[in-house]
Subunit: 185 residues, 4 copies
């Protein structure tokens, strides 16, 4: 794993207080457990971690406030697992793609990142939107098939197929032995 790789965690700090939120919560919890371990592992290798998270209507660019708000919601069990460390980056997004109306691409330039590991929810909405924008900006993509979740399994798989085919994304699982060399070439 090279330093020019970043781990992106999308919308895991989440109220989940919308229709379909319960389904998404269940699927997200499974991802959260795996992702927590994976995050620990890649941080030890110097990979920066960037939360890219919905603003949930607050429009404050205030991560502290956003965290407090989301702990009060249905998504609390996921928030507990995924709470950002002090040295993680935290970027608030107003729309679906992590690149739209955010400082993400400027931060990635600043960190000299070329490879993105995209994780989080929902696979068929914010993850795929962010992946599209990342691809147009010429990042190499790894979207681990067990590192994203959607409300419905079938939609999650559709999204993975599209990202694999149209965005040249790797979709190997989080515990893949690829970890060491997936972006090494």
């Amino acid at each position: 794993m090279k330093q020019n790789t970043a781990l992106i965690i999308i919308d895991m700090i989440n109220k989940m207080d919308f229709d379909g939120g319960e389904n998404l919560l269940e699927n997200s919890l499974l991802v959260a457990e795996r992702l927590k371990e994976f995050k620990k592992k890649v941080k030890q290798q110097g990979v920066p971690v960037i939360y890219v998270n919905d603003n949930f209507g607050l429009w404050q660019d205030n991560a502290s406030e956003l965290l407090e708000e989301c702990k009060k919601g249905t998504g609390e069990p996921v928030v507990e697992q995924m709470e950002p460390d002090e040295d993680d980056y935290f970027i608030i997004k107003p729309k679906h793609s992590g690149f739209f109306g955010t400082q993400l691409s400027i931060l990635l330039d600043h960190l000299e990142v070329k490879n993105l590991i995209l994780t989080g929810v929902a696979g068929d909405i914010c993850v795929i939107f962010t992946a599209n924008d990342a691809y147009m900006r010429e990042y190499n993509l790894w979207v681990p098939e067990d590192g994203i979740a959607s409300e419905y399994k079938e939609d999650n798989e559709n999204a993975l197929r599209i990202m694999k085919r149209s965005l040249a994304a790797r979709t190997d699982s989080l515990d893949s032995s690829l970890l060491g060399h997936i972006f090494s070439s």
Copy 2:
């Protein structure tokens, strides 16, 4: 059909000289025949037509030159059918989404357009990318299921499902009776 609607035609002026181009050509030809008629019909109702087209590496923002180039390629039969009229708009895009690095959103503001009919190729790449960006910019979307084509049928259907579910897109067919009132509400 209201004047605040535009017909977007994506990448139909196309060399199709890439791997998989033959498949795409065959599928695009079917779309081109239907789309030509549809274009005629909506223009009579005052709907502006906007070609949004790959630059094919020319980087010249020169539609005349682009047309000449594409007529020399495999895609020529489609280009013949879909040649733009003098009063159509023509926007050249450098990447997959019609909104990325183009004047499209500024033109749509200028035309006071709120509703987009997205058509063209490829459904699972440039059409879905453009649809994503359109959705984030709060346009209402109609992506007629028989107005787009991809290299593979299954991928085209996947893309339609994603656009329907995640982008709230209508996918009714081109000859749908919805034409008159689909965006009327």
Copy 3:
């Protein structure tokens, strides 16, 4: 004053720990006193207040943390005067223009704002950059001549002249009787 107007406060939450910071601090303090009153007055009329503020290298989209940091810096006296209220919006920018890499234009759409009162520092850098971007996005601009400050007076005046001439900005002072009708037409 119509509801489609917003007060933008640029970089007043500021460490001012750079070369030239002392000059800027002195000039900013004068602005801060006037601006504090002006802000109170326009809020009573329902005008939303949007802080648009440098990230000072934190990359956290965390307004709370940013405020704490800036209180420790040379700019503390200005921060004290200009501390945001709970109901003010707070947007963090990574570069000079408030529109570049931020959710500002999406928030302004959301608030249906068409007219901007641009205030803050530095007039010849972040204010004029933000003004340029605002003008291209077709906002009407009021940049009160006593609501902005730069390190050097002459540079501040140059910036005002450019904004007046090239961006069609009004530059009337904060206590202008224009307040009631400047954007009414």
Copy 4:
């Protein structure tokens, strides 16, 4: 002069059929003569030339048509001097900055350009807007003081001062001996 440098020519293909156009025409003609020579010289050294030009309301991304249109206008003498070569790039912009709603930054990435020589008109509008956007994207800037023109000399000088101070731009003249090493460090 390194290959990672590009010469940008702004709005020299110009109708000049607006108020103040006559003044601008006179000032632009002086620039055109010098710029024509300069362009020849830098092309011999392998520097790519990129025209970045207003759309003049055509919305067609059609350089051929734009050239024809502008030859019919007041600006014809300048257009004659500055007509693009076949191997020059041509980018059409809908607004003042060459980066807003265009493929410019994608082309510059593609060409691996880091240093820009900004020339053309008007210095106090489109040139300074483009310079601002270039600076935020971390390009090094050379805006030759005799390579730009504005309607009024004083405004041109103001713009140069702002670009020098706030954008760290070099403003040495076109025939400067700096040509060989200005961006060499």
